[in-house]
Symmetry: C2
């Protein structure tokens, strides 16, 4: 079997040396990307979404409806420290958070299968600042919030189920936006 | 607040009409993408990875080392039916599965931070057929398997932790490959 003898896995200390500290992360110029969770039920999904949001250095995470919010030990355990580094905000009324986002001039995009949804990979560099919303594990985003959106995007799917875990779907969408942003200028090339 | 009154969320029955049946999925021409899990510990991560693998219609999923494999109720519950639609194979010895993959002419790619890793979004259309490997939740892929790889890719990260949940990372990488493949020809445009 041929392999690659030069392939050298980074050690934990080498990876740690590349990381920002929490103070650096909070004060860093962040990406013009926001996350929005409407009625996400699982503490573990919320924790995982905090971790993804830290990795993409999103500007903020809106938690709304019955989505659980920090401090909760299960969120912190899954988020591995990202609860401290990602700015977040809780609104019980999801529609109020949407209004706040739009008033700031941020595009409000739902990740949902609608008749008008475009593939997330078709978004372009003029989309920013942009907020990606995901919804409940079973029901998705409510009709009220879908109708308030500027745009709907979807993750193309083949296969039997046409559904992804909400934290996985959030990761795919946020990272596609992060890639588009990273390629749009020199300022955030990781 | 301005919204989009035309935005029409698809109902469960409308989404269901677009899905393949299990028989259709198994007999479909699948994408030339494979997944590989080395020593993934969590049953829920394995279940979520089956679900993602179904959505991207991967050709196969290699489960190796101490990665749990079906039938396990926790995997099936999280996979939501994808255990039946995704071809999978278990090898206790991870390196034997790598040998089998290479003998089939499939490129073996590890998702791991190494000194030689390239961003997953820099892969091109000549990469297929390709297998993406992810490793244990804490330790990642073992040195032996990293050294046996044809290529290492990484998901660029900013932020404090430089780490993602393994099922999220798998989703981001598989979907980036799925996008590259979908754009390479008409045959699988979802």
């Amino acid at each position: 079997m041929t392999g690659n003898p030069q392939m050298h896995k980074l050690s934990h200390s080498e990876i740690k040396a590349q990381r920002k500290t929490i103070d650096e992360a909070i004060s860093s110029a962040r990406t013009p990307i926001y996350g929005f969770l409407e009625n996400v039920r699982s503490l573990y999904n919320v924790g995982s979404i905090f971790r993804t949001s830290d990795a993409a250095l999103v500007s903020g995470l809106y938690l709304t409806g019955f989505t659980p919010y920090p401090p909760r030990p299960e969120i912190s355990k899954t988020a591995l420290g990202a609860v401290e580094s990602v700015p977040w905000h809780y609104n019980r009324k999801s529609i109020d958070a949407v209004a706040e986002i739009k008033e700031k001039g941020i595009r409000f995009i739902v990740l949902e299968q609608t008749k008008e949804s475009v593939p997330v990979w078709d978004l372009s560099q003029d989309i920013f600042p942009a907020c990606i919303a995901v919804g409940n594990e079973i029901g998705g985003i409510t009709k009220e919030i879908v109708e308030a959106a500027d745009l709907a995007v979807e993750i193309p799917m083949l296969g039997v189920k046409h559904s992804l875990n909400v934290a996985v779907a959030y990761g795919i969408a946020i990272y596609r936006l992060f890639e588009i942003f990273s390629k749009s200028g020199p300022q955030h090339k990781p």
